[in-house]
């Protein structure tokens, strides 16, 4: 096929098979189910023939895994991820045609508009947050009684695994997914992400992973929690394959998001957008993207090796056949610790973005904040063995890992200093986004201080693997990331949807959430110290009243999220308060654009003239010159 046959400026030629379906989520589901059936019943069946370990037990991993893998491929083909590569191979001109579709339908297709992907991510993330949150309610219900009362031990352990894994998978993209995809290109003055189709792929892997993980319920569950320690995972039932494949998919998605964000920020900044004018949120995205790019492949490797142990019969982690469970622990935590900073850093970036707007001051110590974010990112690769202090690793290394872990409190404390300096002599407004942002510092301080107890190797002996750890990371992830997420959502909702969320309901949600979050998780430090291990379906009867208290408070957190749902429905369908063009009086570039932001963001390449934090400098120019003359573009280095 020669290039000459292609009309020079015309739209991409419709492939003949496009008439068979429109390549949306429904064709994806159809091909996904078809792929599963072919993979399981044909390919897997043939491959597993003559392997008694698979065929003569009541679980055939080869069939199951082949089915899931082919189902995933089928879904992605059905979504249309192969259309463009095939069209290009057959000689079509490069295009971003998917971006131009209009209407609700584009949210159910492969869409290359970064704003559509951001909103897809938002609803996807909220959906998984809802499912995993309901799991948490069911877990707490079980713990009303010290023995199995509501769920069997079997169901309980699966609930724990689902809650943990789904939250960990979902929260990796909780900020980078919706807000990163939606606002990073806008904030750097670009018209799109660097790799729009990879951006779409990184989103569509999320629902696939979620569905595969939920399928574990129908495949006898998995007993390992979110850490999936080998060799327990090797002996587990079929549901384990769901965990392994879905977590690996999330790893792929994470790595894709990471490198897409990095390339976008490096190469697509508008003229005049120097590194010191970059919004701090974008810096936190850069730090997170580095972590995702470097840590996620280790996760994918770990998951693949366990899958090989289970399906092919290798013995990477089988202790009596030459393998080692320690190998898995190291692989997992080499990913797992950067992972928790993948969750924390975007939260820091978000609140530092919100604070200057609502204190009407420049971000205090901008470079220090960048150093703090980057410092956390760098150090997070040198601390993973603090998860293994009592595991029987070489004990000489404990002082080293204790020291590196405690070192992280220095860059983290810088973020606190930025906040304190920004508030100083400001004009503070207690709008809903600001309340969430301020709460992060309270919660994260408790999370960080309890982290010091855990990083201390002697103290960790008692707290390791107990509810103390569980309270600690809920304080950092829920108290940090989830609070920041809601702050960001209330802040940017008017820009994303053209609707102002109700302030009163927002404040009600905030206070319910903040008070009962603390009433839930603070007592859990005591529960852990008093000897209740994590993930148990039965505990010492002497701890029942504390557990009942926690469960009651946890239900109230659930209520606070119900208030949020009511708020969204009420604001979007009943109140419909159209926001002003710049409801928060922010200097951010995204508020200079019309709402909704046009498909290409900027009519012309903008020129950036100032940092977005020029509060208190009346003579400072607007951040972006949206209609620059040629001379201005050249002067800005464009």
């Amino acid at each position: 096929m020669s290039a000459a046959a292609i009309p020079a400026a015309g739209p991409v030629r419709e492939p003949w098979w496009r008439g068979l379906g429109r390549f949306n989520v429904f064709t994806g589901i159809v091909l996904g189910i078809g792929g599963y059936l072919i993979g399981a019943l044909v390919i897997g069946h043939v491959l597993s023939k003559g392997i008694p370990a698979q065929t003569e037990t009541n679980q055939n991993d080869i069939e199951f895994v082949c089915g899931i893998l082919l189902g995933i491929v089928g879904f992605l083909v059905g979504m249309g991820f192969l259309n463009y590569p095939i069209a290009r191979l057959t000689g079509a001109a490069p295009t971003l045609r998917e971006k131009e579709e209009k209407g609700i339908a584009r949210y159910f297709t492969l869409c290359t508009d970064h704003k559509v992907v951001g909103i897809q991510y938002l609803w996807g993330v909220l959906f998984f947050f809802l499912v995993a949150g309901l799991n948490a309610m069911l877990i707490r219900t079980q713990l009303l009684y010290p023995t199995e009362h509501f769920w069997s031990a079997d169901n309980y352990i699966t609930l724990v695994g689902l809650h943990g894994t789904m939250m960990m998978m979902m929260t990796t993209s909780m900020v980078l997914g919706p807000f990163g995809n939606y606002f990073v290109p806008v904030m750097v003055g670009a018209k799109r992400m660097a790799f729009p189709r990879i951006e779409a792929l990184s989103f569509w892997l999320l629902p696939v992973a979620g569905v595969v993980l939920l399928a574990a319920v129908g495949a006898k569950g998995f007993p390992t929690g979110w850490t999936g320690y080998a060799n327990l995972s090797v002996q587990a039932k079929l549901g384990m394959d769901c965990y392994l494949i879905s977590f690996a998919l999330i790893g792929i998605s994470m790595a894709l998001v990471g490198f897409n964000m990095l390339v976008t920020v490096y190469t697509m900044r508008a003229p005049g957008m120097t590194w010191t004018r970059l919004p701090i949120f974008v810096w936190s995205v850069i730090a997170t993207a580095f972590l995702q790019l470097l840590a996620a492949p280790v996760l994918i490797a770990g998951m693949s090796l366990v899958l090989l142990d289970r399906v092919v019969g290798t013995t990477f982690f089988m202790p009596f056949s030459g393998g080692s469970p320690f190998l898995y622990e190291n692989l997992f935590w080499f990913f797992g610790h950067p992972e928790v900073y993948i969750l924390a850093l975007p939260g820091f970036g978000l609140v530092l973005e919100i604070l200057p707007v609502f204190s009407r001051k420049p971000l205090w110590g901008y470079r220090l904040a960048v150093a703090g974010l980057m410092g956390v990112a760098l150090l997070s690769f040198f601390v993973w063995q603090h998860h293994l202090f009592v595991s029987g690793i070489n004990p000489d290394l404990r002082p080293f890992f204790m020291f590196t872990t405690e070192l992280i409190s220095i860059p983290t404390a810088l973020v606190f200093l930025n906040a304190m300096g920004t508030l100083f002599r400001g004009k503070i407004r207690f709008s809903v986004p600001m309340l969430f942002a301020l709460a992060l510092f309270f919660n994260f301080f408790i999370g960080g201080a309890s982290g010091v107890f855990l990083s201390d190797a002697p103290s960790d002996v008692s707290t390791h693997g107990s509810f103390f750890v569980m309270a600690h990371f809920h304080y950092t992830i829920m108290g940090g990331l989830v609070f920041a997420f809601f702050g960001g959502l209330f802040y940017w909702f008017p820009k994303m949807f053209g609707v102002h969320l109700n302030e009163k309901l927002g404040k009600l949600q905030f206070w319910l959430f903040f008070i009962f979050f603390n009433l839930t998780f603070f007592p859990l430090f005591a529960v852990g110290m008093l000897g209740q291990p994590r993930r148990v379906s039965a505990y010492s009867p002497s701890l029942q009243w504390l557990n009942d208290w926690v469960t009651a408070a946890a239900y109230m957190i659930g209520l606070s999220f119900a208030v949020f749902v009511v708020n969204v429905v009420y604001s979007c369908f009943f109140e419909r308060r159209r926001p002003e063009a710049n409801p928060w009086h922010s200097k951010g570039i995204e508020w200079q654009l019309p709402t909704p932001i046009p498909v290409d963001n900027f009519e012309r390449v903008p020129v950036i003239n100032a940092s977005p934090y020029e509060y208190g400098t009346p003579e400072a120019p607007l951040v972006a010159n949206l209609n620059p003359s040629h001379a201005e573009v050249v002067a800005a280095g464009g």
């Binding site: 327990l232 205090w364 400001g426 407004r429 993930r535």
Partner: protein, 291 residues
């Protein structure tokens, strides 16, 4: 970095009051917490390791308390003092203070000193010579990690399996029991292993925790100092009945211990020869996966 308007490290007037308040509160609260809360902190003082960890926790609480008071005071003060008086006032800009190098340097230096102190204290607690920290030390701990009387310690093997604990006393003919009984005041050397998946041996009130990893013998030392009964739990998710993987732990007088172990040996003598010979680890056969 452009530094903001004022130079010097003088405490700004807005902060003078809370600076004094912080000083007074910290000086009062920290010793009170150390004296009254410290002895109540988990994991108690039923063993040398528990006592060491309690001390450790006390030190960290003592460091955290003034920091927490300071941050709370600063934030509450700032939120009250710098709030916009009304809607219009909240939309005027504050002064364009972009940073102050001396504050940053002071802040970094302070956090760095705190971190160094914490790390040094933690490392000191880890290798104290007399008192072990109670954590698993791996299969071949270096001598500096061992307690002084390690050589005279009573060896006890802890075997984890789904979902129960068993104990072997190699110096008493390798007798195997389902209950952990220890003589008070005697250094004990646990050797923790597993025959299936990873468990974690947690003698809660003795403040001992050591992962039981199949194929590995994880050594941990402890000296119980009080006669007390409690429960051993599993602290690493090991499958279905993880929450029920408990066993009884009794710390008794040396005489009672000798009587108990003699009784156990006698009771199990008829089937002792069915047990495998005592080894640091055991490899079960066959090694197929369950069901």
């Amino acid at each position: 970095m452009s530094t903001g308007g004022e130079g010097g490290l003088k405490v700004p007037p807005e902060l003078r009051r809370i600076a004094w308040l912080w000083l007074v509160l910290s000086v009062v609260a920290t010793p009170l917490v150390v004296i009254f809360v410290g002895p109540l902190l988990p994991p108690g003082s039923a063993s040398d390791a528990a006592h060491g960890q309690q001390q450790d926790n006390t030190v960290m609480v003592a460091i955290v308390v003034p920091i927490m008071i300071g941050l709370l005071l600063y934030f509450i003060n700032a939120l009250i003092m710098f709030r916009g008086k009304d809607e219009a006032d909240a939309l005027t800009d504050g002064p364009a203070i972009r940073g102050q190098t001396r504050v940053m340097v002071l802040w970094i230096a302070t956090t760095f000193v705190i971190v160094l102190l914490l790390a040094a204290w933690g490392a000191y607690e880890l290798f104290p010579g007399e008192e072990g920290a109670g954590g698993g030390l791996g299969s071949a701990p270096i001598s500096v990690a061992l307690p002084a009387n390690a050589s005279s310690a009573l060896p006890v093997q802890v075997i984890g399996q789904q979902w129960t604990w068993t104990y072997r006393y190699p110096t008493f003919g390798g007798v195997e029991t389902t209950e952990l009984v220890l003589p008070v005041g005697q250094e004990v050397r646990f050797s923790v292993t597993s025959i299936d998946v990873i468990h974690s041996f947690w003698a809660v009130h003795l403040a001992v925790k050591a992962d039981a990893v199949p194929g590995n013998a994880n050594v941990a030392f402890v000296k119980p100092v009080r006669e007390e009964s409690s429960t051993v739990r599993c602290a690493e998710l090991c499958g279905l009945w993880h929450g029920h993987m408990t066993s009884r732990l009794r710390v008794v007088s040396p005489a009672a211990f000798r009587a108990w172990i003699a009784h156990e040996r006698e009771k199990w003598a008829p089937i002792q020869h069915y047990l495998p010979a005592y080894k640091p680890t055991y490899a079960p056969e066959p090694t197929y996966r369950a069901e």
